[in-house]
Symmetry: C3
Subunit: 313 residues, 3 copies
């Protein structure tokens, strides 16, 4: 029963346009994998004899490792290819690289690329299922799915919640996927940050825009802090890390403006003392480690679902 519409049947390129009917079962499946992971009882049969290739044109040990673990736990043969080693350096085009991996009978291609749309381009050329592991400023769908699952585990549901996404929203594929997913599931989403990083134009995504943490965090159920890319400073978008923390860092005082027991989230790796205070990061309200755990489970669910869809199609 293929549950992703159109080209989504075989690939996971983004969350924009997906419906709650498609998302809920995926979160349910991920939740069941989370339990199996804890008891070390995952069946190797799900992807036995299948080949997963991690094709990373940008470094991301964290995401790559999460997909690698997800694939191996399900029994796949997992191959890591980082661009530094790849023949892309020898002048080969992206599409030739994809065609090569396809010819090696890859079943799943997990792609991270600095260019928005690169995974979608590949998906048109290969028989493998393509999973977007982050492309430019476009989407990072598995990150949003793991965020949603983590929230759902704590709040029981997503509809009706108010979620603040704080930081460099304009350049963040995590924020973009979170916004698509959370608004689809009925959450109210706020974006919070300085006008250089959170322009008012973001309203077209269906979110509320705030330029102070004090207003933005008021009575929210969930705070998602984004990682501050150091490059933003050299680009002059923010004055300094210290200034940034002073106005937009999450500390206990600001967190107190949110609802009692509001969840604190971060996609990692954290810049402690820049976008988030250590006390908050390590507090009882922080579910940052649980996000990592759900990350593996969500990726297992995605790999499982895509390969099943394809073969029952």
């Amino acid at each position: 029963m293929p549950s992703f519409p159109g080209r989504h049947t075989q690939h996971l390129l983004g969350l924009q346009g997906m419906t709650p009917d498609q998302i809920e079962p995926l979160l349910d499946l991920a939740e069941s994998y989370a339990l199996l992971n804890r008891s070390r009882k995952v069946s190797r049969d799900v992807l036995r004899g299948r080949t997963l290739i991690n094709l990373f044109f940008e470094d991301s040990t964290r995401t790559r490792t999460s997909f690698e673990l997800a694939g191996k736990r399900l029994g796949a043969d997992v191959i890591n290819m980082s661009v530094a080693q790849s023949s892309v350096n020898k002048g080969e085009t992206l599409l030739d690289t994809a065609a090569t991996l396809n010819a090696m009978q890859a079943d799943l291609l997990v792609v991270r690329h600095a260019q928005s749309g690169a995974p979608a381009l590949l998906a048109q050329k290969v028989e493998a299922c393509v999973v977007n592991a982050g492309d430019g400023t476009h989407e990072h769908p598995t990150q949003a799915l793991l965020d949603a699952l983590t929230i759902r585990r704590h709040c029981g549901h997503l509809a009706g919640l108010t979620v603040a996404i704080c930081g460099d929203v304009a350049h963040s594929r995590v924020a973009r996927s979170d916004i698509h997913l959370l608004t689809t599931m009925g959450s109210r989403v706020r974006v919070v940050g300085p006008p250089t990083l959170v322009p008012n134009a973001l309203r077209h995504l269906g979110v509320e825009v705030f330029h102070t943490m004090e207003e933005g965090l008021k009575d929210v159920d969930v705070v998602i802090m984004l990682r501050l890319q150091r490059e933003r400073m050299s680009a002059g978008l923010i004055p300094s890390a210290r200034e940034y923390f002073r106005f937009y860092g999450l500390d206990n005082r600001r967190l107190a403006l949110a609802k009692p027991n509001a969840l604190v989230m971060h996609p990692g790796p954290m810049n402690r003392g820049v976008e988030i205070d250590s006390q908050v990061a390590d507090s009882d309200q922080s579910v940052i480690q649980e996000q990592v755990e759900m990350g593996v489970a969500v990726r297992m669910a995605v790999l499982d679902r895509l390969t099943r869809s394809r073969h029952s199609a």
Copy 2:
């Protein structure tokens, strides 16, 4: 039934000196693995409990990945070692590295090295089966085997075919292995390129030498285009990539000189617009992706055969 003579019983160091009786069964076995790969039905028992170490002193993601997949699909434990990480950088000798891997009970050592003869040197010192994955300008036997298999699948046989190998033949281990294999199997081999890259002295290998594509491609059954190493330009052996393409690039006009439906091959990665035109690379006559697919199958056959020979010896 060990089918490689002498030291070939245990290792695959080169194709020079092998006979059709040794090559045909290997291609047959590879062909059966190609079918099993398509149906995802390879038995993990062939190399279960065996250790394959990819020891690459030169980068080659493509070849390394192909061997990694071949090993994993047959059930081996596969370890990748690239020289950048290895203790070779700490001053350890090549032979000490080999002795170390041998002591770890590697069953298969897949070796790529910039020095011709390095794999043969290692083979004298280790109990593991050594597979040459490309050494200097000497040989790249699995590439030639996959080329031969691809041709055989399309033409039904190798004997009597005319095959043109075009480009930097003098420095190419691929060309050298192709020449040994194809002439052994009864093909007529032509080498085509400028005199700096295709000297007349190559005739001693039993090939015909041509210095224009127009003469060299006339009525051939197969065109193998070699990758142009950019280093050749800085060495002054060719004037520029643009000049090169003008005289020695494969485009539709030149391909029309070959037999109708002549096969177009390339070991990859391609320099589109340098040695090969995109229209040709992506045409129906191109079997370049099939070469990649046969590459995995051929390597599975080699790994299977070598370990069987050894243990039945």
Copy 3:
């Protein structure tokens, strides 16, 4: 039956403080794995479904490969993370990295780090079993265990033997772990080298200090040569590699001072002609390759024991 006391129940951070009752069964188990490795008959069930992460903040292909093989042969899912790729480079703290891996449900964390004590710090924060794969100048416990196993196989016992450890003892975690283990098992340990690398203060470790090879090697049963770190020269601790060899290199003439058939050992990779002469390294008395073989077996025993201890606890 957890056999490591206190915090050692779950981790292997160092050998200091361990008793013969804890060490002997580990060597016995390693010996049995050495036999299984030779016959390629290791059961994949020991670590099936378990995750081992190699977390290397310093390069060491040799040790990393040994742990990777050990984990894979026992059936674990093995993930390699080297610091060059990791988000540590993005400013993440060591403890956040550890927390992330823990959240991914790593069962075993094999850690190499330039800072003494880093693995112990991690061990306090994670549920995974932590194995120290070398930390600063502190300990390298699996190296000492493999040294002890190699000696025991040749001499039948460790008690009463005289062992000379020669070279840069002061900065060597290998020497430190060897000293703890061998003295605990009843060997007499000598340390030999120039005063800059072997200060008299080492006596507090319960060893005899010698500053000439001629005195230090006299009548010993075992000679362990340490690797000379090239950095020692730039630091002015030794004049030159040539001078070093002249005074402290192991050659046949010096080896003749030891007992007949004394064992020659080296943790690798060797600097031939610097700390050891090639004739000695390749002689019948050298058990350097056997050390590598025992290394895989010892690591299998450690991984097996730690996960069993934990789950029976």
